[in-house]
Symmetry: C2
Subunit: 343 residues, 2 copies
DNA sequence: CCTTAGCACTCCTAAGCGCCGAGTGCTAAC
DNA sequence: GTTAGCACTCGGCGCTTAGGAGTGCTAAGG
């Protein structure tokens, strides 16, 4: 069921107009639009067709049309084309990484989410890089005082995790050093995922033969790894949804904001949409999770040295400026990849 | 201008009732309250007096009374007495620190803010411990690879900061070790505040005589200290204000939520209220900052080993259950002090 | 003299009603 | 196939009205 050229033009006009105004679009408005050149009556007939085909919907009998979910989908897939950024947008995005090379990965991520939300005026979210997918580089234990030490764990993609542990008092610095070197040697190059309990147990057994004292350090290593199993999700511009006319009611606002507070859920949502694809657009019920089926989620994966690390996206009402937002997101991811990559 | 016993009882009844219902309180309602035993007509006369004296206000002629800011103040200062916690509240609070001794200070703080907001159903905020007020314990530099190293800075109150720096390639491990030991020796016991640029310059000059290579490391030390000048503010339960009838309008919600996004402002507000006092209650215009003059802010300082580190508080509409919330806050701070203290 | 019952009055709120205008679908003419 | 014309629909807005909660005042009672 292909759409005629004319229907495409009309659908395009309706969607574009509705994105701008957030109001239902009437036949007269479409007739006045550029490149149409038809009377409102003709448009009305075409719009009635488009409604029957499921691309448009009518809030009530005597109102104009708004795009249905299917309408938005068609617009995104076939009609909108590539967006262009303004010079200011370009600037805001490129400025965010000025002098970023020095920074740690989490700061870069946190910064990116801010830029994205302030440029797009939407709520943006980034799944922090997945710690457990990155590879072990080295581990150190710094003695803090007689009883405590600081474990520092560093991965190749730039993660630095630290944790205070209690040290066995019978452990001499030399012995501690020995254990740490042993561990570094054994774990180097493994992804954090691969550092499983069974591997740890094996190492532990191995070491026990020589020194029977590091029990607690191991328990803590294990714990600290488990804790990090789930990546953090960074949010930006959560209050931006308040400016969207779609969220006029306190109830809806509450619903969305509560959603934003559930980090593990956001993580799930982002992870489901993590693919190699350029940019993923999920409109309304295309989203698996119920609570966002009135929203559109646009995501893209970002990479370090061509390995996918996490995804970044924006969430907002199904009525949004897809063309422009996709362009912004694409540009940001490009920049982000370049900033994060070390080679 | 002292209030008669009877007026106090009536004021108490009005405030207590309004806190519960969020509605203006009529004379009949007060007459029915426990321990009053007067007719509504008498109450009406007394309430008219209380209004004239400024303790009560009337939204409009034919409505009941609501407490004015002055009324709340009187209630807090003289009427409410000490609150009691339910067993569940006690449990929630004491559970939050289970097994916390191990954790880093920032995690404990982040946890406390969560508990506070979920127990009180208000928005809670904690000013993270002030890094620059704590004393230098030690600094280490871990080589990461040929070009980069990780600076780890540890303070006595349990802060751990790290930062990746680029290392001068001409620097041998032995030399690096020497520099670090020197710095540790010189800086030990100083508060971070005292590590000023001039001190750093002095040290730098001192070292230059021996090795002229660590320029960049110093720049970075300075930078990383400056960055941390301002403590972080942790927020919890920001969406709780949505459940308050005072924030029915999207406009007000927006106002509050935008406020919550301005971390430096929150910091200022919390810092202004940082005193030795038990608990500080700021009602409405008692707050210096305009944007929260329709709110009440209740704060208390928390300490490590009797030294004030920061403050924790809750913010909400002026109509709130002062008695109970103050009790909860007091209890939480007690717990927090105990968890953080090392002796 | 303080307290209380009674009553007129105020003013907010919600519901009902009619008007207006935007927009539609249909029909008939071009 | 396109378009002008027209009757029709329906939501939104402003107006009016009824109801009710609560007040302040007055006058009677302990």
């Amino acid at each position: 069921m292909k759409l005629s050229e004319r229907k495409k033009r009309i659908l395009h006009a309706v969607v574009a107009n509705h994105i701008q105004t957030a109001e239902p679009v009437g036949s007269r408005t479409v007739a006045r639009a550029d490149g149409i050149g038809l009377s409102s009556a003709t448009i009305r007939n075409e719009m009635a067709d488009l409604e029957e085909m499921g691309y448009l919907a009518q809030p009530h009998t005597s109102a104009g049309r708004i795009p249905s979910q299917k309408g938005y989908r068609y617009y995104v897939d076939y009609l909108m084309g590539d967006g262009r950024l303004t010079v200011e947008d370009e600037l805001s995005i490129s400025r965010f990484l000025s002098d970023e090379k020095m920074r740690e990965i989490e700061q870069i991520i946190a910064n990116a989410v801010k830029v994205l939300s302030s440029v797009t005026n939407q709520t943006s979210l980034i799944m922090g890089p997945q710690f457990q997918k990155s590879t072990f580089q080295q581990m150190r234990i710094l003695p803090l005082d007689e009883k405590r030490g600081l474990v520092v764990l560093i991965t190749h993609s730039g993660f630095i995790k630290n944790k205070v542990i209690e040290l066995d008092q019978n452990l001499s610095p030399a012995e501690l050093h020995q254990v740490v070197s042993y561990l570094n040697q054994k774990l180097y190059g493994l992804t954090i995922d691969q550092v499983t309990t069974s591997l740890i147990n094996e190492l532990k057994r191995d070491l026990f033969r020589r020194l029977e004292i590091l029990e607690q350090a191991f328990v803590l290593l294990e714990e600290s790894l488990r804790e990090e199993r789930q990546a953090r999700v960074f949010l930006g511009g959560t209050t931006n949804i308040l400016t969207q006319p779609e969220f006029r009611s306190v109830k809806k606002i509450h619903q969305m904001l509560s959603l934003f507070e559930r980090e593990s859920l956001l993580f799930e949502i982002l992870e489901q949409n993590l693919t190699e694809d350029d940019v993923v657009v999920r409109i309304g019920t295309e989203n698996e999770h119920e609570d966002i089926q009135e929203c559109t989620l646009i995501t893209a994966a970002y990479k370090i040295n061509r390995r996918i690390l996490g995804s970044v996206g924006i969430i907002g009402p199904t009525r949004m400026d897809y063309q422009w937002i996709i362009a912004v997101l694409r540009r940001l991811v490009e920049q982000l990849n370049r900033t994060l990559s070390t080679d």
